[in-house]
């Protein structure tokens, strides 16, 4: 199954959720959901590649670290990303994201994501064995 994503409601901010057949796929989906908070990911051309690594004591903190690493790259490089590959070994994550510099006219970026929070944070498998990775992001 290809990584999927969705948003879930939070009164002042927004929830991001990735779903997939593996933990990695769910993390990739959650990243795409972060981009979708800002713009339609289909409008983001995966032209340039950026690598990231992070490490955390458990899966949930690793998800937050991963999304925050992505938010940091978006903020400092002024880029948006639409394609992701994630590899997780133990509590370490290696990822590559593909994207392009922000084009305000074309992307119509709605809002800046300030950070991933621990609210509604969870990384787990549902009854069908599908991985779900989610948290609220502050905008």
């Amino acid at each position: 199954m290809e990584p999927q994503w969705e948003h879930f409601p939070h009164q002042s901010d927004i929830g991001v959720r990735g779903l997939g057949s593996s933990k990695e796929a769910a993390f990739e989906g959650a990243a795409r959901a972060v981009t979708a908070v800002i713009t339609d990911p289909d409008f983001v051309v995966p032209a340039q590649e950026v690598s990231m690594v992070c490490e955390a004591p458990d899966d949930e903190l690793l998800l937050v670290d991963w999304l925050n690493a992505l938010i940091y790259e978006m903020a400092t490089r002024k880029m948006l990303f639409s394609r992701f590959t994630v590899r997780i070994t133990g509590h370490a994550l290696q990822a590559t994201a593909w994207g392009e510099p922000i084009d305000v006219a074309r992307h119509q970026p709605a809002v800046e994501v300030k950070g991933a929070t621990y609210t509604e944070l969870s990384v787990k498998r549902d009854e069908q064995g599908r991985w779900i990775a989610q948290c609220v992001v502050d905008v």
């Binding site: 009164q11 903190l61 938010i71 809002v111 300030k114």
Partner: protein
């Protein structure tokens, strides 16, 4: 929120008795209708905050309280370091020292009309706003550290604004105790191109008119009258604050067990005030406050430049600058004794009453100006701190309307272009790089700010002084 969980103690005061691991009661200030509309999560978050070590008196929620992360937005809590009190990165949040400042222009609405479009365009082009925007001020490492230590005072020293501005900013424009060394290189890098930018989301720059004065005596001290043209700026510490929040949230979540802090929600990530992590966070967070103060000061300078070109007869003077995401050391009377407390305000405004020494001398006799931001289609308010507020909630009041609808819902309900068109028909010019952003910030997605302000007034947290309505709004 289910009213059966609360005990009513006054028209606008509701108590949650301590239960389970709560160390103090919860207190919510709001009307019955605001309480009914509050998410059940506000109750959960108010009670969670009440379990943190060293909390004093109560865990408070303001009339605009809504579901936040860790603390409710609109949450106030104070901690005593001598009772093992904590400082919480989650209790301050990502947008450290986000706040509002209000500038008088010396002009009236009539002066604006001939140049309204011109002014809107000029402000939109001069003040960087929105995702990916960059400021005109770029700081090297040395200047970055000087800015983090000096705040608005640093900015004025660099030529951004006037010396007299500083008197009317909380902490007189420079938060003491900032430690730039405690701010990571990542946070500094995230800020290097973002000085003097508005940001996005609910941040804005508005040209407003004073449409009603409720308290002529206080308004006269604040030097505002009906018909006056004013400028309001709402923004914060930008990427630097976000990164400090991100990094310390993790450090505190991971170290909490070591300090025997039981977190009912990891987002309440805290550390003892008297600990290495706690002290480093305070040093970094205070640097974040200075970054926000410097940022609003630079934006003010840009606004003055635009007025100089478009309405040269204007004189922009600062009425006041408030921050609403902070942790500050303040003295409050607890059981008859003056006690040094670490007061967290998350989406809550400091609202000190008359005579408080931290209020500038020119305003001290009436109390601190409390600036409440509304939406681009409704109103903002100027209130004043009360004597009662000092005992009700450590001298605090609400900070804005608060969302009633998620961004997702708003996007399904409105189109940005229609919102802009509808508001233009009402005489409000909106300028934004993102129509999707405008739709998400549609006025209908927010609670009624007037009801929130009336509740704050009724509860004696702060008293209404004036109502401001937007004429021009630059949104990120």
């Amino acid at each position: 929120m289910d009213l059966n969980q609360l005990k009513r103690r006054g028209h606008d005061e509701w108590h949650i008795s301590p239960r389970g691991k709560m160390r103090v009661p919860g207190v919510i200030y709001a009307t019955e209708s605001l309480i009914r509309d509050m998410d059940e999560k506000v109750y959960e978050q108010v009670t969670n905050v009440a379990t943190l070590p060293g909390i004093v008196r109560a865990s408070y929620a303001m009339p605009d309280a809504h579901w936040g992360y860790g603390f409710p937005i609109g949450g106030v809590a104070a901690f005593d370091p001598d009772l093992g009190g904590v400082v919480s990165a989650g209790g301050v949040g990502f947008d450290i020292s986000c706040g509002v400042r209000l500038l008088r222009t010396g002009l009236t609405v009539e002066d604006l009309q001939p140049v309204k479009e011109l002014l809107a365009e000029a402000l939109f082009h001069r003040i960087p706003a929105g995702v990916g925007s960059t400021g005109l001020v770029h700081l090297d490492k040395r200047e970055m550290d000087a800015m983090l230590a000096g705040g608005a005072k640093w900015a004025v020293g660099k030529g951004y604004g006037l010396h007299e501005d500083l008197e009317c900013i909380e902490e007189r424009g420079c938060m003491a105790g900032a430690k730039p060394d405690c701010v990571s290189d990542f946070a500094k890098k995230r800020q290097q191109d973002e000085m003097g930018t508005l940001g996005s989301g609910n941040h804005y720059l508005e040209v407003q008119q004073v449409v009603k004065v409720f308290d002529a005596e206080v308004a006269s001290v604040f030097r505002i009258r009906e018909g006056d043209l004013v400028v309001s700026i709402h923004c914060g510490s930008r990427g630097l604050g976000h990164q400090i929040g991100t990094e310390f949230l993790k450090r505190m979540a991971v170290s909490a067990a070591r300090y025997h802090i039981e977190l009912p929600d990891r987002e309440l990530a805290s550390a003892p005030i008297n600990s290495e992590v706690g002290q480093e966070y305070l040093g970094a967070m205070r640097a974040g406050i200075n970054c926000a103060l410097a940022n609003r000061q630079i934006v003010t300078h840009l606004v003055r430049e635009v007025f100089e070109e478009v309405l040269p007869q204007a004189t922009l003077s600062l009425l006041y600058d408030v921050s609403h995401n902070t942790c500050k050391v303040e003295e409050h009377v607890i059981d008859g004794t003056a006690t040094r407390l670490f007061v967290h305000r998350k989406g809550a405004t400091r609202a000190f009453g008359p005579g408080h020494p931290d209020i500038p001398p020119s305003l001290r006799e009436v109390g601190q100006p409390v600036l409440i931001g509304g939406t681009m289609g409704t109103a903002s308010y100027v209130l004043v701190g009360t004597k009662e507020s000092m005992t009700l909630a450590f001298g605090s009041a609400c900070h804005g309307a608060g969302r009633s609808m998620s961004r997702h819902q708003a996007l399904r309900q409105w189109h940005g272009r229609e919102v802009v068109k509808d508001l233009a028909a009402r005489g409000i010019l909106i300028r934004s790089p993102s129509m999707r952003g405008v739709a998400e910030e549609a006025p209908g997605a927010y609670k009624d700010v007037s009801e929130v302000v009336d509740a704050a007034d009724d509860a004696n947290l702060a008293r209404k002084v004036a109502r401001l309505e937007p004429l021009v709004c630059v949104k990120g």
